[in-house]
């Protein structure tokens, strides 16, 4: 069952990387438009945002590869719970509509927040099911990296760095 949980986490990470890739492209388009309007501050924020989003997406991709590798090399964990993952944690959400309608940096930031929070929730669900000490350690490292990445992304565009007291639902 460990592999099931790891694969599910990998799916969230892959989906987040794809969504963030699209967010970065939209940010690039918005950046071009802002540059034409000679809005220097907006250009700077969008540029910083795009860099952060690309870094977050790269981290998602790197972790997805790690989880998939672990899932394929550690398929058995007899001490792991065999409960079915909760429905809410099974599938990454579809961001297509929100991406299509995103017209501002604020819109893009909420998409990034939600995509990364989805990964964080998948990780915490995995931590509640996987008993392997080394894997749990990796999952916790990933959770911390996502949290730090979100705070740094918000800092890069001078948004509030600490908007939540818990992982957002």
């Amino acid at each position: 069952m460990t592999s099931v949980h790891l694969t599910r986490i990998a799916n969230f990470e892959i989906a987040a990387a794809q969504v963030l890739g699209k967010v970065a492209r939209i940010a690039e388009a918005q950046l071009g438009a802002a540059a034409r309007r000679e809005e220097g501050l907006t250009v700077a924020r969008l540029r910083a945002f795009k860099l952060s989003v690309n870094a977050l997406a790269a981290a998602n991709t790197e972790r997805a590869a790690l989880w998939n590798t672990q899932a394929s090399t550690d398929p058995q964990d007899s001490s792991t719970s065999t409960t079915t993952p909760t429905v809410s944690a099974q599938q990454p959400p579809d961001f297509s509509e929100r991406l299509a309608q995103a017209s501002s940096l604020a819109d893009l930031l909420t998409i990034v927040d939600d995509a990364e929070a989805g990964c964080a929730r998948a990780l915490t669900a995995g931590i509640a099911e996987i008993s392997s000490e080394s894997l749990r350690s990796k999952l916790l490292q990933a959770l911390v990296a996502i949290a730090e990445g979100l705070a740094l992304t918000r800092a890069a565009i001078e948004e509030e760095m600490l908007p939540w007291s818990a992982i957002p639902e």
């Binding site: 790690l66 911390v144 996502i146």
Partner: protein
């Protein structure tokens, strides 16, 4: 973080683990309160510190509720906590807070990694998530140039 897990055995070591985290959260509240005394912090830094303080209070509440919900007794906030002194100027105080928050993150990682009742993990991991954001925010304020990584 959703539904509370079922009760755990009364002699479970997890109660000690959770109560230790609870005391660390209370200590963090005390440290931030001390740092905020005397208008040491500029408005931006003071606002951030106040948010952190509120988060730690919320985290303490989460832990206390979790302990009680699984059949344990949550520890009380102490009258005094041993805090680093002197806290110095704004930069030194924020550096002290960064050390303390980083320590708390490491304690959470260690604690969650060693919980025997895995079902307790999600609520505790949610606290860890936010405390890790605190660390990144403080590093940013202190201009320590943190970077986005896959595993931290």
């Amino acid at each position: 973080m959703g539904v509370m897990p079922p009760r755990i055995p009364e002699d479970s070591p997890d109660f000690d683990v959770l109560n230790s985290l609870l005391q660390l959260e209370f200590r963090e509240v005390a440290l931030i309160s001390e740092i905020a005394v005397g208008e040491r912090l500029d408005p931006t830094e003071a606002d951030l510190a106040e948010k952190m303080r509120r988060h730690h209070l919320a985290h303490a509440d989460v832990l206390a509720r979790l302990i009680e919900s699984v059949g344990g007794k949550a520890g009380e906030v102490r009258e005094r906590y041993v805090l680093p002194t002197p806290l110095g100027d704004q930069r030194r105080a924020l550096e002290t807070l960064l050390v303390s928050e980083s320590h708390l993150v490491e304690m959470y990682k260690f604690a969650i990694g060693n919980l025997t009742a895995l079902k307790l993990s999600p609520s505790v991991a949610s606290n860890l998530f936010v405390d890790a954001m605190h660390v990144a925010a403080l590093k940013t304020l202190l201009e320590l140039s943190p970077s986005i990584v896959a595993l931290a």
